[in-house]
Symmetry: C2
Subunit: 392 residues, 2 copies
C-alpha cells in the first residue's frame, strides 16, 4: 500500500478491528464473558468500517467525493471482500489477498490446507516432507519408554520438560503448527512476520531433513535443527517454548472467540495426502471445547449464509490474490468467477506476499500480480468518476 | 401473490418479522426494555429471512435448487429490496412495492409526504383540501372559548370528551392521521385494510367538504361527516375514539421502537404546499421522546450508511413499484436507476395496490404494473436457470 499510494494519489487508512489491539469496546472487560464478547462479529466489524469511511469523508477536507478501495490480507482480506459485497456503495472495489473465504462448512475439502503445507516441504528439499511424516511415529515410539520424555525434552532443548503423556500431544501440535507457520511465511527474502526468518525458510529447514531413513533419535535431532531455523534464526534463543509459535500477539484471544462463533474453519489431515498424523474434523468436540472456553456454540453455516458461500457471482470489483505456497490458498478463490471477480495466482508466493513492501528478491510473479492489481484499482477509480459524471 | 403463484409454479412463504405478531423472542418480556429490544433491527430481520430460506431449501423436498423471489409492501417492501441488496445469493430478485427506502435523513424533502396527501384530497373533490386546511383554525378558534371543548366533543361524537387544551392538539393529530390513512388506502373498490371503507373513500369524504366558506361550527360538522366515512362505514360506530386510527394492530409498539433506533423518517408540513398545520421536523425533540419512551437515541444516518442511500446502482433485479396516490411514494424510487433496478408507477394506485388481489374495479394501470412485474420475475427465474446450466 505504501509503495503505490503516491501513484494512486491515495490516503492510507488502517482501521483496527474491534476487540483487537487497542480497540477494546469494554476495556479490560472486553473478553470477560460472552455478554461482553457479543459485539465481536464480522458484521459489526464491517459496520465499523462503514461508519469510519462516512466519518472520514465528512471530516477530512477534500475526502467527500473520493473513491475508496478496501484492501486486506488473510482475515483482513476476507473482510475486504465481504465489505465490497455488503457495502458496494462505500468502496469501488476490494483487493482480498490470501483470503480463504471458502474455508468454511463443506466448500473445500478439510484436508486441502495441510496438503499444501506438505507440498511446500516436499518441493523445498529431497525427502523433507517424508522426514517430517516419519517424525511423529519416532516421537510416539520414543515416548512410550519411560526415559523417552526426558531424552526428547533435552534433544529439543525444551524450556519446560515433558512430564506426562498429554505433553506429547501438545508437543506434536506445536511442531505441526511450526511447519504450518513456515508454509505461510515462506517468503523469498529475510522477513519477520511471525518470527525472524531467513529467505525461503523451508529450504533452510529442509537442509536438516534430507534423510528419513535414520534412527528415531537422529531423526528427532534433525527435527530440532529444523525447528531451530524457525525459533532461533537470531541465535539468541536459549530453549524452545512449546506454548507459543509466534513472537508477537496477533490477537489469539479474539480469534479464538470468533472461531468459536462465526469463523468455523474445518481442518483435517490423513497422513497420506499430507505429512501429518491423521486428524479428522470433529465438530462435536470442537463445539464442546468452545462451550467450555466461552460458553458459546459455533454456527458453522452462518458465514456461508451471510456472505454467499460459492454463490457470489452477482458482486463486482473484487480481486482475490493467492500465493500457491500459501496453505490458505486452498480455501481461497483461485479462478476468475466473472469479468470483475478476478483471481490472481502467485506461484512463488506465500501468505499475502503481494501486500508486502517491494523487495529486490521479489519473484517476478508477485511483481506482475501487483501491477495487475494496481491496473484494476485504477480502472475502478476511472469507472467511479465516469459514473459520477453520468449522474451530473 | 396468490393470483400469480400457480402461473409461476411458486410456493408462497410469509415470514413473520421478529417482534411482531407471534414472533416474540422473549415472549411477554420482548418489549420490556432496550436490552430485550436490542435484537429488533432490520439486519436481524433480514438474517432471519436468510436462515428461513436456507432451512426451507434444506427441508422441503424439491425446494433445494429453486430460485426465490422476495416480495413485500411498505416496510416489507423495503426489507424485500434490502434483502436482495444484502443477500443476492439467496433471492434472484425483489419486488419492493410502496417501499419508501429514501424517506430517511435528507434524501427527500420532509414535506413531500403531506404534500401528496393534500394532492389526493385536492383531486378528489372541489374545495376538499381547502376545507381541511381551514378546519384547523376553526378548531383553534372554537376551543379557545370555554364552551368550545364541550361543543366540539359533541359535534364530533367523541367517546371521551375533550377537557383540556392539550386534548385539542391530540384531536388535531388524530384527524391529520385519519386523512393520511385515507390517502394510503384510497383504493378503487371497497376494502378493509386499516378500516372498512367504500371504493375511492377520499371521493366520498370530499362530498362532505365542498364548501370551505362556512361558519366554523358548520365546517366542523362537515368534518365530522367526513371522518364518519373512515370510522363508521359500517354504520355501527357509536362514538369516535381519538386514541386509534386503525382497527387492527399493525404492531405499533415494535414500530415505535424501530422508528426510535434505525427507522428514523423525517416528516414535516408547512400549511402552504399542504393542507396541514405547519410542523417542522425537530430531531432533538424526537430523540428526547425516544429516550423517554425506550431509553434509546435514534441513529438517523445508519439506514443510509447500511443500505446505500441513493447510491444503490451496483445492485440488480429489484422492482420498485409505487402508486401515485400513495404518500409513501414520495420517499420511494420512482425512476429507473439501471436496466435491472426498475421503477413502476401506478397513477391510480394507493399504498401497494399492486400487491392486493385482482379485483374487477382495478384500474388498467395496476393491471399493467402487475403483468410487467410478473414478466420481470419470469426473466429473473429464466436467468437463474441459465446461469445454473452455465455452471454445470
Amino acid at each position: 500500500m505504501w509503495d503505490v499510494a503516491e501513484e494512486l494519489k491515495a490516503m492510507l487508512v488502517f482501521a483496527e478491528h474491534r476487540y483487537y489491539g487497542e480497540s477494546l469496546p469494554f476495556g479490560a472487560n472486553s473478553f470477560k464473558d460472552s455478554r461482553h464478547l457479543n459485539f465481536l462479529t464480522t458484521e459489526q466489524a464491517l459496520a465499523d468500517f462503514a461508519q469510519l469511511i462516512k466519518y472520514l469523508k465528512r471530516t477530512i477536507p477534500g475526502a467527500k467525493n473520493q473513491p475508496v478501495i478496501a484492501l486486506g490480507g488473510s482475515y483482513g482480506g476476507m473482510l475486504a471482500a465481504w465489505f465490497r459485497m455488503k457495502y458496494p456503495h462505500l468502496v469501488v472495489g476490494a483487493l482480498a489477498s490470501s483470503a480463504p473465504i471458502w474455508q468454511f462448512e463443506n466448500m473445500v475439502p478439510c484436508g486441502v490446507f495441510m496438503k499444501i503445507v506438505t507440498t511446500d516441504f516436499r518441493n523445498s528439499g529431497p525427502n523433507c516432507s517424508e522426514s517430517i511424516r516419519r517424525s511423529w511415529d519416532a516421537i510416539n515410539r520414543l515416548t512410550v519408554k519411560g526415559t523417552g520424555l526426558h531424552w526428547l525434552s533435552e534433544a529439543l532443548h525444551l524450556c519446560t520438560p515433558l512430564t506426562k503423556s498429554q505433553d506429547v500431544q501438545h508437543l506434536k501440535d506445536w511442531i505441526s503448527e511450526t511447519w504450518v507457520n513456515l508454509a505461510m511465511v515462506d517468503y523469498p527474502y529475510e522477513s519477520n512476520f511471525l518470527q525472524p526468518l531467513p529467505a525461503w525458510p523451508i529450504k533452510v529447514v529442509c537442509q536438516n531433513l534430507k534423510n528419513p531413513n535414520v534412527s528415531d533419535t537422529l531423526l528427532l535431532q534433525n527435527i530440532f535443527q529444523a525447528l531451530n531455523v524457525y525459533y532461533n534464526y537470531s541465535g539468541q534463543t536459549k530453549c524452545l517454548n512449546i506454548s507459543e509459535t509466534a513472537t508477537s500477539s496477533l490477537g489469539a484471544l479474539g480469534w479464538s472467540y470468533q472461531a468459536c462463533t462465526e469463523m468455523v474453519m474445518p481442518f483435517c489431515s490423513n497422513g497420506i495426502d499430507d505429512m501429518f498424523e491423521p486428524h479428522s474434523w470433529n465438530f462435536k468436540e470442537f463445539s464442546d471445547d468452545c462451550f467450555r472456553q466461552w460458553g458459546v456454540r459455533p454456527r458453522p453455516s452462518w458465514i456461508p449464509t451471510l456472505y454467499g458461500g460459492k454463490n457470489i457471482s452477482s458482486h463486482t470489483n473484487i480481486i482475490f490474490s493467492n500465493g500457491e505456497l500459501d496453505p490458505w490458498s486452498g480455501g481461497g478463490v483461485t479462478k476468475d468467477i466473472t469479468d470483475t471477480l478476478l483471481a490472481i495466482i502467485i506461484p512463488e508466493g506465500a501468505h499475502h506476499l503481494d501486500l508486502r513492501a517491494n523487495n529486490a528478491f521479489d519473484p517476478v510473479t508477485v511483481l506482475l500480480a501487483r501491477s495487475l492489481e494496481v491496473r484494476h484499482m485504477k480502472q475502478w477509480i476511472k469507472d467511479f468518476y465516469a459514473s459520477l459524471r453520468k449522474m451530473h
